[in-house]
Symmetry: C2
Subunit: 185 residues, 2 copies
DNA sequence: TATTGTTATACTCTATAACTATA
DNA sequence: TATAGTTATAGAGTATAACAATA
């Protein structure tokens, strides 16, 4: 991307300072590569996509059933998309779906033993890939700084839905708590 | 994702230190959101996808024609995928494809005036979104640090093709030079 | 023989809109 | 009426393998 290096070569044509531009590119390319490789690994090792892995991970992390809406948050951008993925996971025997007694509109998604087993099986390789690709060249301070910065960016984005955000999703009320904070509690 | 917070809760189950895990999540979620919103903007404003925008941007930045292979680098992960996207762009009149005289196996892709115009048209909004979403909460030092870190990560990944990397792409010989370095030269 | 690119094909994924059912 | 979720459907994107042509 680019041709927008000159701080203001043309009138009215906004640009980014070179430093920001380079940062933007490095960020997008890195994550694109990481996503792609991690996805490849998961498909090969577990016959699941990255999205599906994220859903299993959410369930594993929650330590219990979640409603569809809770499950969707941040992973999928449309309701039907989640229904589709959940359908695949259910067909594969990795989750079950049942009506939530307390609110019969809701669907309670539960990780099956097979689902949990699959998650445990692919996790080491996943972790390993992330460690090799993402963290291999960083020291503790780098990780700290990167985490701090990306957390700020994420919060900025969550708080900054574009002019016309998605219809209506995300209702469960995320506390914007760092995912790593929770235990298997 | 998770249930892998405990540094070593189970034997043989690798994990990541909480700090790394949180950083990983923040990074992936942020970029996912950014990609999604930027893609939305481009489709609305210019009826092109983010991938297509990246291809136009590469051509605009190059300041002249590129071969398919040069164009692909880093943006697309399969040859046929690029042919597909190039077909769309050509059909839309944004690029042309011709045989490269010096090597008749190659296809030379040229940005048309319409393509250049479209790129210029959507660029401001794109830049604006990146500025708002990505950089709004960062000061110069943050940008510097983030750029430094992500550049290292990108280089790490480029140098670290997974066990079984893609067949054979990427031949043009990237010098791993920061994208922002080049001008419209 | 290796490389560049295209085609055919099959599949995955996403999103919109219409719909059902419960609150 | 608003919310939770599903379904139908249609389109966009991706990847593999087979292919043609040039180096």
């Amino acid at each position: 991307m680019a041709s927008d290096h000159s701080a203001s070569s043309a009138p009215g044509v906004p640009s980014l300072p070179p430093q920001q531009l380079a940062t933007y590119f490095a960020l997008m390319e890195s994550v694109s590569l990481l996503q792609h490789q991690v996805d490849q690994h998961l498909r090969k090792e577990g016959a699941i996509s990255y999205v599906q892995f994220q859903l299993l991970a959410r369930l594993a992390d929650a330590g219990g059933p979640l409603t569809m809406t809770q499950l969707a948050d941040g992973v999928v951008y449309s309701r039907s998309g989640l229904t589709y993925q959940a359908g695949l996971l259910e067909k594969a025997g990795l989750i079950t779906r049942d009506t939530y007694p307390d609110d019969e509109r809701a669907t309670l998604v539960t990780l099956t033993d097979d689902g949990a087993a699959l998650f445990r099986r692919v996790l080491p390789g996943h972790i390993d890939a992330v460690r090799r690709l993402l963290f291999a060249s960083l020291n503790d301070q780098d990780v700290q700084q990167l985490g701090d910065i990306m957390t700020r960016i994420r919060d900025q984005m969550r708080a900054h839905p574009p002019r016309s955000a998605a219809p209506r999703k995300r209702r469960t009320g995320r506390k914007a708590s760092p995912p790593a904070a929770a235990g298997t509690d």
